[in-house]
Amino acid sequence: MTIANLNIAWLLPEILILTMACVILVIDAYLPKQLRNLTYHLTQGTLLGAALLIIAANPMQPILAMNDMVIIDAMSVVLKLFIVLIVFFTFIYSREYLQDRKIFKGEYFVLGLFATLGMLIMVSAHNLLMVFLGLELLSLSLYAMIAMNRDSKVATEAAMKYFVLGALASGMLLYGMSMLYGITATLDLTKLSQSVSEISNDRIVISSVNQLISETEEVELAIKNVEKHVTTITNSPIATKIAEIIEANIETDAMVIIKPMLASSSQNYTILVFGLVFIVIGVAFKLGAVPFHSWIPDVYHGSPTSMTLFVASAPKIAAFAMVIRMLVDGMQTLHTDWQGMLILLSILSIIVGNIIAIAQQNIKRMLAYSTIAHVGYLLLGIIAANADGYAASMFYVVVYTIMTLGAFGMIILLSRTGFEADKIEDFKGLNERNPWYAMIMLIIMLSMAGVPPMVGFWAKWAVLAQVINAGFVWLAVLAVLFAVIGAFYYLRIVKLMYFDKPTSLVPIEAGVDMRFALSANALIVLLLGLMPNTLMAICLGAWGISV
């Protein structure tokens, strides 16, 4: 182990964020209250610096660093960049909101930076331990962040629920990992992947050998057949072992040794799938797929809006990366198994998310269920289980975070001290109060509903196209039907904004940075919708597909 092997230069973005988070924590402790803005500016500077470093550290081919603990590849660069930028926008939207509510504290930004660091680690993880560490760093920061407004009952309740359920999910994830480790004796994702594919090859060999044995009564003939069969197979350890045993022993002895060996080896695969179920549950919880979604409505609703914004946006990208790292990098060979699990999660999420969202009166809760539905669509691309599908999902998750950012940004914009603007009816007559903001919300809502020419349409189109290519036409049909139902609650907001009379005429006030960022946010949604090719090409490029 030498320093050169660590490839530290490739991890400069993470190192910068970690260092700065500690520095800011110390500085903030000694800052007088009126200079609190300095914390904010330092944080934003750190994020921009990290973004630049991420762009600078863009490798031509995947690079392993820290003794293979982390990987820097095209996907990680793209996702990290989006994470850092999304967090940057989140902080812009949050500043005034926090100041108004007297919770403008350094901890928020420090926790935010640590959470960002956790996300970056998840994205770059090349080892099950790193996945888990990144996830915990992110989750713990989020729990604390939500509970920061400790006088608020709903916020503490939300944090508590999130924490307990999160601990449960982490436990399950860890349990799944330990199962995998038990079978494969490795945590490294490349090695895991090799091991997994050997085990599934073994499984094929075992079933064919079992069949050969059961076909003939005569032991000698059976062993001859088996020998003929196994010598042709090269990629399975068990086949080699059987061949050796047959060589070394006479037929009847060989049969006595082989039979129990087959039985014990065939269990390996079952245990692998058993572990896989727990891992899928772990990521399903982080994404918020039904039935592991219950924390989402309560947390979105209970947290202060700026915290909701943070929880709802960037971590989804990290969760997507976690799915890819574990299921694709680690267990691509098991895709026939995890496809089925993801289909189940996806269908349930699309149905439950879209239907329950209709019944909501609180827009944060409505957006929570909309998130659940979006997660269902996001999973469609992964279900396709090929590079095009993963690229489509990646496109979806990036687009989704941009839209969510705008939606919660609008809620923050409309709120003011003592008024949260989180009821759906608070959007009534927005067009009369301010047509520009109404248009921003219009663009975002249409995009979420998947109406062209907004980018949300292309995102849905991409995942649906992939899931149809993979042969699941019925799944696509179902997804589209529920997208129609889902359109209702997005369009209801539009209707309230444009066709109802406003209930209050208080002018909407916001700082220049906020107004500018929010406008840019909506215009990006529109612009990406008119020209989706660039982002699509980036996502495809991350999977080595050139257009």
């Binding site: 307990v164 359920l165 919880f285 039935p291």
Partner: protein, 648 residues
């Protein structure tokens, strides 16, 4: 070349954006748009010079691929040949003149910037249309000019009549555009391409789908169906019978618009399109006969309506309809060159007549009824003389531009008559007697306006004076080509093979034999012994007699002729019929759909579904109890189900 072409197209667009979307002053709005269109004009003149005189090869490039779906490519590209060069020159020149004229005409209007933005946008759209090298861009330009036309007819959107007129124009054009879109679809079906060059190449080589089965069992000639459908588009845009009804009403728009869009440029888009598609139309004599007969009906019967109008602009409008009919007849007789030639001369003298009429209207304080005019000659000498030039050009006095083009058309139809083309006899007599009618209504308008008793009220009379130079300047600028352009261009355009690179005429159909042409003077002398000139003279004579010598006679004739007069005043009852049958019928069907389909079916079924989902939502949301242990329990159930389903 590419940069020049892009500048020509984009300059008016940028001008339109600046004047329309930015908060600029009136002065900047008109300076920018006039400058942009002027630039487009000068560059068009340069392109014209390059293509025609400097022998530049035909420019045909695709600049941008918008979308590829299967083997359909939607592209943006330019094809510049002699036909395009002429159209570009005409469009930019007339547009430029109208821009300048507008400063005077719209001087007091609150929508000043909006107006300049629209007409610049129109120039952009029209250039996109004529410069296209494929059917999709043609369709884009086609629809874009239609849109601007709609916006401009309804420019004074507080007037009910304007709103009625622009809606009418839009709806009638929709009928034509539907045919046009089907025609483009037929092109794609037959040739598997939308690029002009490829389509025309395949058409000449005969490599296309020959028949189409619209009703099972009946095979139709593909090319005939395609050409007639495309021509239906032209009928809408160029206001041919029976889709002509929108054009007279379009005079509700400001006069510069009538001159620019509804006389000189947009309405000729249909003529241009058919000429551009000549390689296709030449393959179907059936379609050509259809074109010829439709044109003939329009030329003759719409001219008649001009006789009974009192609104000065409407007279010019019906005259436009009739002249468009002449152009269409020319197309049907395979004399595409004559059609385009008449299009060009007509653009100048009809824009002149409209702007002259506008000048009169300004002087009369926006009074348009000719019964309240008369004797304006002494008040407005420039307008008078330029209008006289326009009128003489319109009726085809030998030597004026209109003479050459109209005579060429009549000659061509005569040729088709000799060749025994179906419907040619009808077309021949229609265009021949049309000449008499043209002269009659033109000079009726002229005499009523400028000569005879002064019938306006005292107040108007006191303020009568010639209009400012921004109005008269364009009149003079348009009067010059109205006189001369015919004699100088007839040789190369009709007989000199000027359009040989862009218009294709089957040898047997070609009406213009260069061997029989001996310069424009002999053409003129030849014209003197032909009936059209004498019919035109007779028309002027009758007008003089009826409106100068015996002004009481027209009314008596109107009363005596009873039903005939009524039919003319009612415009052959087309509007009544359309209102009753199409508008009324559609409303009836709509009401039925609403009462039965919407209220009964949709509200019942769909709302039922919606209620059901709403009910489900109400039930499901109760699952979210808020209790932590319920949530944890849900997770464990999920775990159990997944283990059960996927492990064992």
């Amino acid at each position: 070349m590419q940069d020049t072409l892009l500048t020509i197209v984009l300059a008016p667009l940028i001008g339109a954006i600046i004047a329309g979307l930015l908060p600029v002053s009136r002065r900047i709005a008109h300076s920018v748009t006039i400058g942009a269109v002027g630039l487009a004009f000068f560059l068009s003149a340069y392109v014209f010079y390059q293509i025609i005189f400097a022998g530049h090869a035909i420019y045909n490039e695709t600049l941008y691929t918008w979308l590829v779906a299967g083997n359909v490519r939607l592209e943006v590209g330019f094809m510049i040949d002699s036909l395009t060069a002429v159209m570009m020159l005409v469009v930019t020149f007339v547009s430029w003149m109208v821009h300048i004229y507008t400063i005077g005409y719209m001087h007091d209007d609150p929508g000043y910037n909006r107006f300049f933005s629209y007409i610049s946008l129109f120039t952009f759209s029209m250039l996109m249309l004529v410069m296209s090298n494929n059917f999709v861009q043609l369709f884009f330009g086609w629809e874009a000019v239609g849109l601007v036309s709609y916006l401009l007819i309804g420019f004074w959107y507080t007037r009910d009549t304007a709103i009625y007129a622009n809606l009418k124009a839009f709806l009638v054009n929709r009928v034509g555009d539907f045919g046009f879109a089907l025609g483009i679809a037929a092109v794609l079906m037959a040739f598997n391409s939308l690029n002009y060059g490829e389509v025309f190449g395949l058409a000449q080589a005969g490599e296309y789908k020959q028949t189409i089965s619209i009703f099972a069992g009946h095979e139709w000639s593909m090319i005939t169906v395609m050409c007639i459908l495309l021509f239906v588009g032209a009928m809408g845009k160029s206001a041919q019978f029976p889709l002509h009804v929108w054009l007279p009403d379009s005079m509700e728009g400001p006069t510069p618009i009538s001159a620019l869009i509804h006389a000189a440029t947009m309405v000729t888009a249909g003529i241009f399109m058919v000429a551009r598609m000549s390689p296709l139309f030449e393959l179907s004599t059936t379609a050509l006969s259809f074109v010829m007969v439709v044109g003939a009906i329009t030329a003759f019967f719409m001219g008649l309506l001009g006789l009974v109008q009192h609104d000065i602009k409407r007279v010019v409008a019906y005259s436009t309809l009739s002249q468009l009919g002449y152009m269409t007849v020319a197309l049907g007789a395979s004399a595409y060159t004559a059609g385009i030639f008449h299009l060009m001369t007509h653009a100048f003298f009809k824009a002149l007549l409209f702007l002259g009429a506008g000048s009169v209207i300004i002087a009369m304080h926006h009074e348009q009824d000719m019964r309240k005019m008369g004797g304006l000659k002494k008040y407005m000498p420039i307008t008078y003389w330029t209008m006289l030039i326009g009128s003489l050009a319109l009726i085809g006095v030998p030597g004026m531009s209109g003479f050459f083009s109209k005579d060429a058309i009549i000659e061509a139809v005569h040729h088709a008559y000799d060749a025994d083309r179906a419907g040619a006899w009808f077309a021949y007599y229609s265009v021949l007697f049309g000449v008499f009618i043209t002269a009659l209504y033109t000079f009726r308008m002229f005499f009523l306006t400028f000569h005879g008793k002064e019938r306006m009220d005292e107040h108007t009379k006191e303020h009568l004076h010639e209009t400012p130079w921004v109005v008269t300047g364009p009149l003079i600028a348009l009067a010059i080509p109205s006189i001369f352009i015919g004699m100088f261009t007839i040789g190369p355009m009709l007989f000199g093979g000027y359009f040989s690179d862009s218009i294709f005429v089957a040898a047997a159909h070609n009406p213009f034999d260069p061997e029989h042409y001996h310069g424009f003077i002999s053409f003129m002398l030849h014209g003197l012994i032909q009936p059209p000139v004498w019919l035109a003279a007779a028309g002027v004579g009758v007008a003089y007699f009826l409106y100068m010598k015996r002004p009481e006679l027209p009314e008596i004739i109107a009363k005596r002729s009873g039903i005939v007069y009524k039919i003319l005043v009612e415009k052959y009852y087309f509007d009544r019929f359309n209102d009753w049958f199409f508008a009324g019928g559609t409303r009836k069907v709509g009401t039925f759909m609403w009462q039965f389909g919407d209220v009964r079916f949709i509200d019942g079924f769909i709302n039922g579904m919606a209620d059901l989902i709403d009910w489900f939502a109400g039930v499901f949301r109760k699952v979210q109890t808020g209790f932590l242990y319920h949530y944890a329990f849900a997770m464990l159930i999920g775990l159990a189900v997944m283990l059960g389903a996927f492990v064992y």
